[in-house]
Amino acid sequence: MKMTFPHLGPAYLAAALALKELGIPVVVPPANTGKTLEKGKSVSPEEMCLPFKFMAGNLIEAYDMGAQCVIMPATMGPCRLGEYGELLKQVLDQAGYAMEWILLDTPKAIGIKEWLRRLGTAGRESNATVLKAARVLTGSVQLMLSLDRLEAKIKEQAGYARHPGDCVKMLRSLRKELEASENLRAAGRTMAKYRRAVKMLPVNSRRRPVKILVTGEIYTSIEASANQNLEEQLMLMGCSVKRPVNISWWMAHTIRPSLPVPGRQRKRVYLPYSIGGYAKETVKEIRDSEEDGIIKIMPAGCMPEIVAKAVSNLIQEKEGKKILHLVFDEMQAAAGYETRIEAFVDMLERRRRVFLGN
């Protein structure tokens, strides 16, 4: 039974390798394009958010390539009242794309027993021992963590690189090489190679780049095709880009509450309650940011982030932070976004020049 999963940034790299090593046949859907979105739209309710449409599109494309089973982490909770995964399943079922579904909700939501059972269903076709399975899973999680760290490093470096384009190129070729790796071990070697390459990048240490924090809705943040390559645009303008919301962040955020370790809870002035999605976390990041400017992104119609936007307006007013809000939808007209992003970076640059006197 061929397995597939929807895209979320670089997650497919680790997931595909893990499944491969366990001997489970896997179909990786083609990268997100306009066509993916068209297919997703054809089955989704009109008012659905952009990530849903992309994911539905991924699964349709995978189905056409022979996938029979979907495995998907579904963090019962944040979005669509926790029924996000179920909804996706229903929508595709009704449209005639019948597949088996393994929804890995958080252990906290469904109980550790049920969680392990579902994980077991996923692994029933593998003849790997439990020990090997555990080793592979750990390995792929480690790959994900180190990939996120490395990408973050390269994005930060973009502001200091002599040619900002180098960093963009490096990010692209890194993913490409990982995509082609045979197994986790080979992927590990690729990682080591790129870690060395980052250190060799020609830098201009005298540069003081504009630093930008990208935050907001998680899918739009992680999946570059849903934000019109926002980060690449920023890097090419010579900015240092920081985006704390990545797969590692999500893993930590999802898994920690099910462990008996108490997290450090601090009182949050602007948005003390969780209102669904990751709005609370977005607000926290905006509040705590020390970058020159913040770009907050979300797909059209994302309720939690709309609330976060309202709250961030208040933060902007009270704490003088510079925030640019971008809402992404199916519209592919890049010019409007470019103008806004360019004007925002321009604004930060000019302000710094005047206030710092250089």
């Binding site: 384009g165 692209r172 090419l236 307006n313 902007q316 007013e317 510079k322 809402v327 010019a335 409007g336 470019e338 103008t339 806004r340 360019e342 004007a343 925002f344 321009d346 604004m347 000019r350 302000r351 005047v354």
Partner: protein
């Protein structure tokens, strides 16, 4: 030495020449009419009669057609409209804290702090709050757009019109017409609807501090100025140069670079060239840019939309 600024917008293409003291020497306001290249060429020919190409030290371009203009005339500065409009407003009156700019296809709000942009917003939803909507309504009622504002000022009892969406607004206007509402009141209603939609869609609750500067082609409309004054309960300043502020700002930014050597400006004679636009997909890297090239008698004289800049370098000379 002089500095050239060009603003290529959806409705108008403006050209401004300034001297080193930021004074405007010459200004042109031309209709784009969907053919930006022709409009720029016309402007260059006209300016070429007064100025010598060698007198232009630096050139700056802005507006939605800035990449095209930059490739065609050769620009030292290619900047977005927000930065240029802000620069122009701050130069004309340093007291300005708020810039309301309404153009043909978009509307912007720029907040300034000591002459520097501190926040900005652009319309997102639809063209309901922009000049093209006014144009269309004026045309539908058979009133020349120049007379629009004057007539609207006479409307003492503005008709209620929903301003959120251009299509709904039009249905509303037609309905009011059938109900026998006078033309003046209708026009006044359109102005009020546009202002409300601007304040809710673009300004979105941001604080508009005085002094407020209203610019862009639409600022010529007296009725709209009055509607803004009524809604914001403060006086609104419309600079004499309101139509060409973008181009003026582009020229000012070009002036900022005056110490750098040389210029990319290719001369007013560009206005006499027969230019063909060709879109070439480039497959040299995964970016797969759709490069736009400007050809004259088969030779490339300019290019844009190539992210790596390869085609632009080839035609820089």
């Amino acid at each position: 030495m002089y500095f050239l600024g060009i603003d290529v917008g959806s409705i108008s293409t403006d050209l401004v020449v300034i001297d080193e003291g930021c004074g405007i020497k010459e200004q042109l306001y031309l209709k784009t009419k969907g053919r930006p290249l022709d409009a720029i060429a016309r402007g260059l020919r006209e300016l070429g009669e007064t100025f010598d190409s060698k007198e232009i030290a630096k050139a700056g371009v802005t507006g939605s057609g800035r990449s095209l203009a930059g490739a065609f005339v050769g620009a030292d500065v290619v900047k977005n409209e927000i930065t240029t409009h802000a620069a122009a407003a701050a130069k004309i009156d340093p007291q300005v804290r708020t810039v309301i700019e309404i153009g043909g296809q978009d509307s912007k709000l720029i907040l300034l702090e000591e002459g520097l942009v501190s926040d900005f917003a652009m319309n997102t939803v639809c063209a309901a709050g922009t000049g093209s909507f006014l144009d269309r309504q004026a045309e539908r009622m058979g009133i020349p757009i120049e007379k629009f504002g004057e007539a609207a000022l006479r409307g003492k009892n503005p008709a209620p019109i929903a301003g959120r969406c251009a299509v709904f607004a039009e249905s509303d206007i037609i309905h009011q017409q059938q109900m026998g509402v006078s033309e003046e009141n209708l026009l006044a209603g359109v102005c009020r609807a546009l202002v409300n939609s601007y304040l809710s869609n673009v300004a979105q609750g941001k604080k508009l501090l005085p002094k407020i500067c209203f610019q862009g082609g639409v600022a010529a409309n007296q009725g709209l100025k009055a509607a803004f004054e009524e809604a914001l309960e403060t006086e609104i300043f419309v600079p004499r140069e309101h139509k060409i502020m973008g181009a003026y700002g582009a020229a000012l930014l070009a002036l900022e670079r005056k110490d750098a050597e040389g210029t990319a400006f290719k001369g007013f004679d560009r206005g006499r060239l027969d230019v063909e636009i060709r879109e070439t997909p480039c497959f040299d890297c995964p970016n797969q840019c759709k490069v736009v090239r400007l050809l004259h008698e088969g030779h490339a004289i300019g290019a844009f939309q190539d992210r790596c800049g390869k085609y632009q370098r080839d035609t820089a000379m």
